[in-house]
Amino acid sequence: MLGLNRNDFLMLLFVFVLVAAAPIFLNPFPEGSTFAQFNAGYPDLMQRFLIFGIFAIGFNILFGLTGYLSFGHAAFLGAGSYAGVWMLKLLTINVIPAIVVSTIVAGVFSLMIGYISLRRSGIYFSILTLAFAQMSFALAASVLTPITGGETGLQTTLSDPRILDGAAAGTGNIPAPSLFGLEMGHSWKVAVGDWLWTFNVGYYLCAFVLMIVFYISIRIFRSPFGMMLKAIKSNNERLSYTGISPRPYTLAAFVISGMYAGLAGGLMVSMDPLAGAERMQWTASGEVVLMTILGGVGTVVGPVLGAGIIKYFENIFSKINDGLLEQWFAFMPDGLADFMVTIVHPFVGKGWHLSLGLMFMLVVIFLPGGLVGGVTGLFRRLFRRRSH
């Protein structure tokens, strides 16, 4: 169906259900309960799951298929963000032009950087992309301030000359991006018993876009073009000997993944019309690498899961503080409870990076194929045992 084989179609369906029902199952704990802290079903966070999911899907097309490890993809996300905000400022508060233009701008930007960086492979390629991204970051934060807003960032204001719709409606002094009048921040809240579910317009716009680009990515993975990219990863030299130049293919993959990053940037500013230079910094590029690796490099669904998990941990772990810990361990005897709080303390709250680092090392050491690779490996082992 949809030009996919059965397994891929089921996976698409799985992701569709996952994304569509996320506002419900990400809020498994009743409002006001002790564990309500772990609820992730609020619009801001769910939007970020999907946006970084799109970013990671795109990164995986480059890294997962061709094996070229780019350390500069955040630059495209940043370029897309700036382009998106400018569209919201100059053209219309409607998000569609912003999303389309940010994708195109990132595509052109990645074509320029990719054309130069892809002259080299291996770590040289990584360093070249890193160098370009750091240059973009430094320039955006300093010299290009008229275009990028420098360190304060670029954001929409009520006085912007929007050619198509003039001054837009909005709360406070920041106009709210909308889709034909439907504000991105608008949510419907549904209370079922003690549970509160939030269905947000922006989230479902992101979900719609994610489903499209996820479908495209599956088609790329299964296409002759995707086979060619895999051939580049497994043996570049042999491919050259067959008379095929790998460069156009890697460049195409680079531009596609750059456009995915730009799309993510465009969506990001559509949800929150603010773009800052730190979005381009190399740590942001590192983050998308982590997401892809954690989920599973070269698997279709891995990057989406990786993005979700990292963003979840970032938000939930960082919110846990000592008072909350004491509350949790309150059922234990005093001494033991204090001990547990001291043990857990460094891993949560401000120290959540420590958990992230450890989790990351463990995945790379024990699950080289990421979470998806680990799970499929487990299934394969169980299945083989049964068939004996």
């Binding site: 130069i116 291996g122 770590i123 890193l130 160098a131 590192g286 990076h353 990351f360 090392m361 790379v364």
Partner: protein, 345 residues
């Protein structure tokens, strides 16, 4: 432009260049021997820097006695702190030790960094020889985050100053030394110390590799690990020791850098990215290239931050290193002194 202004920029570039060169040297040692790309190297530099903070704190541990004859501004008896070292070694020696805590930290840093290097290599890196470079990058990157966070949990997130010995604080008139008018060319003492120290460490590493039997075996192993192993030499053990030495070099670079820039837990990451650029510009696996590129890029950075240059090309000071890296890599794909066939698929 005057000659003295140019000379000043060269001098200003030397201290940063020294740090780049030392970190890049360690990275290249690890890459050349073990074939591992170590993203945790910046964290080792940072741990070295915190060795000097630790030594400074250890030396200033004091006993507190109340002096009833004097009062502080709140009218309470004055607290007199006597550092233990002053009571053990006498006042003058103790004060000198506290004053010299940064250089003294070298004594702590060498064994600590060697140990960390050994543990890291045997415990983690060893299992990653056969894995792809991207896996090595990722696991060491994870380790770098963990090390950073441990330091942050213990020392806090703020920068902690660790001043140089008082005799090296301030500047001296370098210009007069080479025949300029007085006051034209001032240069801080500690930066000269740092530069000389870096040269000493670099020379020691090269001499160790060049003139000792151990170094000869290591160099042979870098060229052809398998053959050296077949000759009945335990090359793995030697490479582990080299990893420890590389860690120690990064640590020493960190210890002595603290007076120039107060360390915080992100100290290493700032240098790591540039150091990788330095290694690649110098040529992967080339020790001389790493040192050369470190100084070249350091000096280049300092030239680019001259007012005249910034006025001419705005923002150049922010990007010059990366720009140079891109140009060099495109013009000389293997870096300045790189050999053929290293890190190429």
């Amino acid at each position: 432009m005057e000659l003295s202004a140019l000379l000043l920029q060269v001098l200003n570039g030397l201290d940063k260049g020294s740090a780049y060169a030392l970190i890049a040297l360690g990275l290249t040692l690890i890459f050349g021997t073990l074939g591992v790309v170590n993203f945790a190297h910046g964290a080792l530099f940072m741990i070295g820097a915190f060795c000097s903070v630790t030594v400074q704190r250890l030396l200033s541990l004091s006993t507190v006695t109340l002096d009833e004859t004097k009062t502080d501004f709140l009218g309470r008896p004055l607290e007199v702190k006597t550092p233990y070292v002053e009571s053990w070694f006498g006042e003058s020696v103790g004060q000198a030790m506290i004053d010299w805590s940064v250089p003294l930290a070298i004594l702590l840093a060498i064994p600590v960094m060697l140990l960390i290097g050994f543990v890291m290599e045997r415990g983690l890196i060893k299992h990653f020889y056969k894995r792809p470079h991207s896996d090595q990058i990722l696991v060491t990157f994870g380790l770098a985050i963990v090390l950073q966070e441990i330091i942050k949990a213990y020392f806090g997130a703020n920068q902690i100053p660790a001043p140089a010995p008082s005799m090296f604080i301030g500047s001296f008139d370098f210009g007069q030394l080479v025949g300029f008018d007085p006051g034209v060319l001032m240069y801080p003492y500690w930066r000269i110390v740092y530069f000389l120290f870096a040269m000493l460490v670099i020379a020691a590493v090269f001499a160790f590799l060049q003139f000792t039997t151990f170094g000869m075996v290591v160099r042979a192993g870098m060229a052809d690990r398998e053959t050296v192993g077949l000759l009945g030499i335990n090359i793995d053990k030697r490479f582990t020791i080299m990893f420890g030495i590389a860690a120690a070099v990064a640590g020493l670079a960190g210890v002595m850098y603290t007076p120039i820039n107060s360390p915080s837990y992100t100290f290493g990451m700032d240098f790591l990215v540039i150091s990788f650029v330095v290694v690649v510009v110098g040529g992967m696996g080339s020790l001389g290239g790493a040192v050369l590129a470190g100084f070249v890029l350091g000096i280049l950075e300092s030239f680019a931050s001259m007012r005249e240059v910034i006025e001419f090309i705005p923002g150049i000071n922010q990007v010059v290193i990366y720009l140079a890296a891109v140009l060099i890599l495109l013009a000389r794909p293997r870096g300045l002194l790189g050999r053929k066939g290293v890190m190429e698929s």
